[in-house]
């Protein structure tokens, strides 16, 4: 199956996820907001402090978490309308090392759509474990490049705390998303990313590499 020309690979439309606590006096504890569009295959680096909403964003894009508002269109298809077990044919979330796919079910599967793709269009790597001793990093970076060359969209989330993490990001990523307190900011390249004082603050001494 193919997708119509000019359909963005990923369109995150007015997406909001609000977490609240309390039954009567509801108090907002976390709010993630995102609104962006990516038209072409690329490798997008995602960075941000712990608890800033990176994993929540990935869960919303892959349809394992239900948004409060807005929608996620993958290859023109609203991922939250796709059958649960087949959502990973559109967008797939790779956790650190294990692959558990769990979806919050809101309606029966038979009422939902089949995915337009049979191999994931969007691949989201959530803090993959990198070990410089065994050389697998090189194979993983090759894989990201191959996915991109095959016309896929790749998100690579890394929380840099070593020099080689920055090296990986600079080698693999063409553009960047920085997530802080549930807000996203975008950069076309690494230098552009570093112009953001919040990013400099976050990277600290690593920004120099």
């Amino acid at each position: 199956m193919s997708t119509p020309q000019n359909t963005p690979m990923l369109h995150v439309k007015g997406l909001r996820k609000i977490y609240q606590r309390g039954l009567w006096n509801k108090e907002e504890t976390f709010r993630l907001e995102a609104d962006f569009q990516i038209d072409k295959p690329q490798v997008v680096g995602v960075m941000g402090p712990n608890g800033s909403g990176k994993t929540t964003l990935f869960e919303l894009i892959t349809g394992s978490n239900q948004p409060t508002d807005g929608e996620v269109m993958c290859a023109g298809q609203n991922i939250h309308n796709v059958k649960y077990r087949e959502r990973d044919r559109l967008a797939i979330h790779y956790h650190q090392s294990y692959q558990v796919r769990h979806f919050r079910k809101t309606k029966p599967s038979f009422m939902m759509e089949r995915p337009v793709s049979d191999y994931p269009m969007v691949h989201l790597f959530d803090e993959p474990q990198f070990n410089t001793q065994d050389g697998y990093i090189g194979f993983m970076l090759d894989f990201f490049k191959r996915l991109r060359a095959e016309g896929r969209l790749v998100f690579l989330c890394v929380h840099p705390n070593e020099k080689f993490h920055v090296k990986i990001m600079r080698e693999a990523c063409e553009s960047y998303i920085f997530v802080q307190k549930g807000q996203l900011s975008f950069a076309d390249d690494y230098d552009n990313l570093l112009e953001n004082p919040d990013v400099q603050n976050y990277l600290g001494a690593l920004a120099a590499y």
């Binding site: 692959q99 796919r101 001793q133 090189g138």
Partner: protein, 249 residues
């Protein structure tokens, strides 16, 4: 078409996706390696390729015949032998008995009351040949349980060879072997490679880099890269790792 081809294999256990999409092929008369970090799905992949698990999607073709979902014994009957990560020997039997049990047709003949198995010199000779192949000449009458670990591993490979396989699968053969044992096993497999088509699943990269003609790297339940040891070694990150150092000496 390759000698052995797996296409778009998928395997899930409930919510857990172990094989996302595996496409692999192995050529005859070659040693093919599959490697990957812990939890990459290597053993599940092995079990799907050899018929011990039925895949949720995809196909496996051996020498032009679709063997997807076939029972393990039927797959074995077509000439695919496998070893297991845990030892599967008859401990109270001698080395040669372990091989004789695995020889084709031995068991059926043994049920025939008119047939004298220990007196059958052809079967004995065949079994002795197999033992010699795996470096266990002179150890024929030793009970399996009394053999040192490295020789047990060799005997296990002998059991797999007894069925005269056309393709031999070995699951983490270096498991539990020390440096010496691994080096001796590498010599043995280097020998066997001359006369058998072999597939080895292994996390020990150095071992595979030394022996394999082609290596497929598995991670996240997918083949993330493939190539000859030289091609994989050329990667800058591999060069900088311990493996690069080891591979260059």
């Amino acid at each position: 078409m390759a000698f052995f081809e797996a296409t778009h294999l998928q395997k899930r256990f409930g919510d857990q996706v172990v094989l996302e999409d595996i496409t692999l092929s192995f050529e005859a008369d070659q040693l093919s390696g599959i490697m990957g970090p812990n939890g990459a799905g290597k053993s599940t992949c092995f079990n799907v390729l050899t018929g011990h698990y039925r895949p949720d999607g995809g196909s496996v073709v051996f020498d032009g015949k679709d063997i997807t979902g076939l029972e393990p014994r039927k797959i074995a009957g077509l000439g695919i032998a496998r070893s297991f990560q845990i030892m599967t020997l008859f401990d109270e039997f001698s080395a040669i008995d372990n091989i004789m049990i695995a020889l084709r047709g031995t068991v059926t003949r043994a049920f025939n009351p008119l047939y004298d198995l220990p007196g059958d010199s052809t079967t004995m000779d065949k079994a002795a040949d197999v033992l010699a192949k795996v470096g266990l000449k002179g150890r024929e009458l030793e009970m399996a349980v009394n053999l040192p670990y490295g020789e047990r591993r060799a005997l296990e490979i002998g059991v797999a060879l007894a069925s005269e396989p056309r393709l031999l699968f070995l699951d983490e053969p270096t498991q539990g072997l020390g440096v010496d044992g691994t080096a001796r096993l590498a010599d043995l497999i280097g020998e066997l490679k001359q006369s058998y088509s072999i597939v080895i699943i292994e996390h020990d990269m150095k071992f595979l880099f030394k022996l394999a003609d082609k290596i497929s790297v598995i991670h996240w339940g997918q083949v993330i890269t493939e190539g000859s040891p030289d091609e994989l070694r050329a990667n800058e990150w591999v060069q900088e790792s311990q493996l690069g150092e080891a591979a260059s000496c």
